[in-house]
């Protein structure tokens, strides 16, 4: 007892959960600290679309009473969590960052909302995002452009930009993001936090506004790998309401966090993973690899013959599927979309069915090559994206040699691979550029082997402190 709000909000999720369990901290204190922090900083970040102050305090009081009576709902008992606003929450507004759904109040929770509540999480708010998750900047025309807490003139990436900014700014202990082409990993890297894109089919999408059905996933975004593993364990598993979920067994994802990386075989693809990226990003990821080698891991160079072409396949699928979902609204309410999303939805209507199916056949090819490569390695590591945060509002980026590139294609240079192959992928902070903007690395694993990603990430965080640094707001 006796901790200040600033001290409370600086705790990791796992630390806060242990203190609640030991009755050293009350859920009411945690919620008050989170709400106080939101009030103090979110007018500058625009990370939240909705804040549930009264409801969160009521639930926190109930959680406090339960704790006093010896009841513990689960690993997230009494922990303030925020959800991306495309995840349905019963009876509360769920906008998907859009004008079209600005007044939508779902009649049911998404499956992951229910599971998080069952694990004891307290929802403090719903988070801003790129409209309908179709884009990577979170420059939202309806709810404001989300800002990066490390430098509010810069973007937080996206589409889960509110989730990334909210966690980095310590306004909640963890957040939910969704990831189709990189939308968890990109804002995790750009905001200096941990984020997991689970294996496709590992986490239910039931009750989440879709972007592209064949690639959509939902996952946790937190400050540490331990926090991420803790949250993930409450979400993962088969859901009869989502036919894409797998019956693959889940486990205690925190159990192996201290097992280290001795003998872990890390695959790298030199001609792709370390090509066409900003020098500080390259240096940080290579330094991270050196660190892991110092802990006992070994580097294995691998060639994925057909890795080139993945961005086109990604864009084709990620265009065609949303344009299908939005077909009626695009005809009835075109002016209610922001300019960029409207254009992308229009473009998706003009790609051919043969383009789409060739892209889906390419996924089979790429997945087979990666599955074959996993006989030689345990994980792959690469940068999460090739550049650090650009200024808010920019739609282009310069990566090298002064060449101006389209943001959407450039930002998915590395994240498209797990999206297309369905492989799990974890962003772990691994440095900062000379301007103090975060850099992340992406650890890619075998299907349903999220535990190894957490083990590698935890080993790295045990000897580095990038995840412990806080933006000054």
């Amino acid at each position: 007892m006796g901790r200040t709000s600033a001290e409370l909000i600086d705790l990791t999720l796992a630390q806060a959960a242990r203190l609640v369990k030991d009755r050293q901290v009350s859920p009411v204190e945690l919620v008050d600290a989170a709400l106080e922090r939101i009030a103090a900083v979110d007018h500058r970040l625009k990370a939240y679309i909705s804040v549930f102050a009264d409801e969160a305090r009521q639930v926190a009081k109930a959680a406090e009473i339960m704790t006093a009576a010896g009841h513990d709902l689960g690993p997230l008992h009494g922990i303030p969590i925020a959800l991306k606003d495309n995840v349905a929450t019963k009876g509360t507004r769920t906008t998907a960052g859009s004008k079209i759904l600005s007044d939508w109040k779902p009649q049911r929770d998404a499956t992951i909302s229910t599971r998080l509540r069952q694990a004891g999480a307290i929802f403090v708010g719903k988070l801003n995002m790129h409209e309908f998750a179709w884009g990577g900047t979170s420059d939202n025309p309806h709810y404001g452009a989300v800002r990066n807490p490390w430098n509010t003139e810069h973007f937080p990436a996206g589409s889960s930009g509110g989730s990334g900014a909210a966690v980095a700014a310590r306004t909640c202990y963890g957040a939910i993001g969704t990831d189709t082409g990189g939308s968890i990993r990109l804002p995790s890297a750009i905001n200096g936090i941990v984020g997991l894109r689970p294996t496709y089919g590992r986490v239910s999408n039931h009750g989440i506004i879709p972007l592209a059905w064949s690639m959509d996933t939902a996952g946790p975004m937190t400050r540490t790998v331990e926090d991420c593993a803790t949250m993930f364990g409450t979400m993962a598993g088969y859901d009869p309401n989502d036919p894409t979920t797998a019956r693959a067994a889940t486990c205690d994802y925190t159990a192996g966090l201290d097992q280290g990386v001795q003998g872990l075989r890390i695959g790298i693809i030199p001609g792709y993973f370390f090509h066409h990226l900003q020098p500080p990003v390259l240096a940080a990821v290579k330094q991270a690899l050196d660190t892991l080698v110092g802990l006992g891991a070994q580097i294995v160079e691998v060639d994925i013959e057909n890795i080139h072409g993945n961005i086109s396949a990604q864009l084709t699928i990620e265009s065609a599927e949303p344009s299908n979902y939005h077909q009626r609204w695009l005809r009835e309410r075109p002016d209610d979309y922001g300019a960029d999303v409207r254009g992308l939805l229009e473009i998706g209507e003009m790609l051919l069915a043969t383009h789409y199916l060739q892209a889906q056949r390419y996924r089979t090819l790429l997945r087979n090559e990666f599955l074959d490569a996993f006989r030689k390695v345990d994980v792959f590591i690469c940068p999460t994206l090739p550049f650090t945060a650009t200024k808010v509002g920019e739609m282009t980026v310069v990566i090298e040699n002064g060449v101006v590139e389209d943001m959407l294609s450039a930002i998915m240079q590395y994240t498209g691979v797990p999206s297309l192959t369905g492989l799990p992928s974890l962003n772990v902070p691994c440095g900062f550029d000379p301007n103090g903007l975060p850099i992340g690395m992406q650890i890619i694993g075998r299907p349903f082997d999220e535990a190894t990603l957490f083990r590698a990430g935890a080993a790295y965080q045990s000897v580095t402190d990038f995840h412990g640094r806080a933006p000054k707001l």
């Binding site: 864009l315 005809r331 473009i347 089979t364």
Partner: protein, 73 residues
């Protein structure tokens, strides 16, 4: 397939008409540069994937009969 489709805004408007998508005036000018680039890349991928070595690859889409799957939990 043409290696570099020289797409014009007028052609984009025609494409939209075929898709039964009413485009507001001027929209085709916004769309054309991006669509042209994406089509070029998509056509390149189609050429690659229609080559003989990949003839037997099936799309990464699966049709299932859920009620007949085993191991319901």
């Amino acid at each position: 397939m043409s290696r570099k489709p020289s797409l014009t805004p007028a052609q984009v408007r025609e494409l939209a008409r075929y898709a039964d998508l009413p485009l507001a005036p001027g929209r085709e000018d916004q769309i054309t540069p991006i669509l042209a680039a994406w089509l070029e890349d998509a056509n390149a991928l189609s050429r690659k994937m229609s080559a003989a070595p990949y003839h037997d690859l099936v799309p990464a889409t699966v049709f299932t009969h859920p009620s007949h799957e085993e191991g319901e939990q």
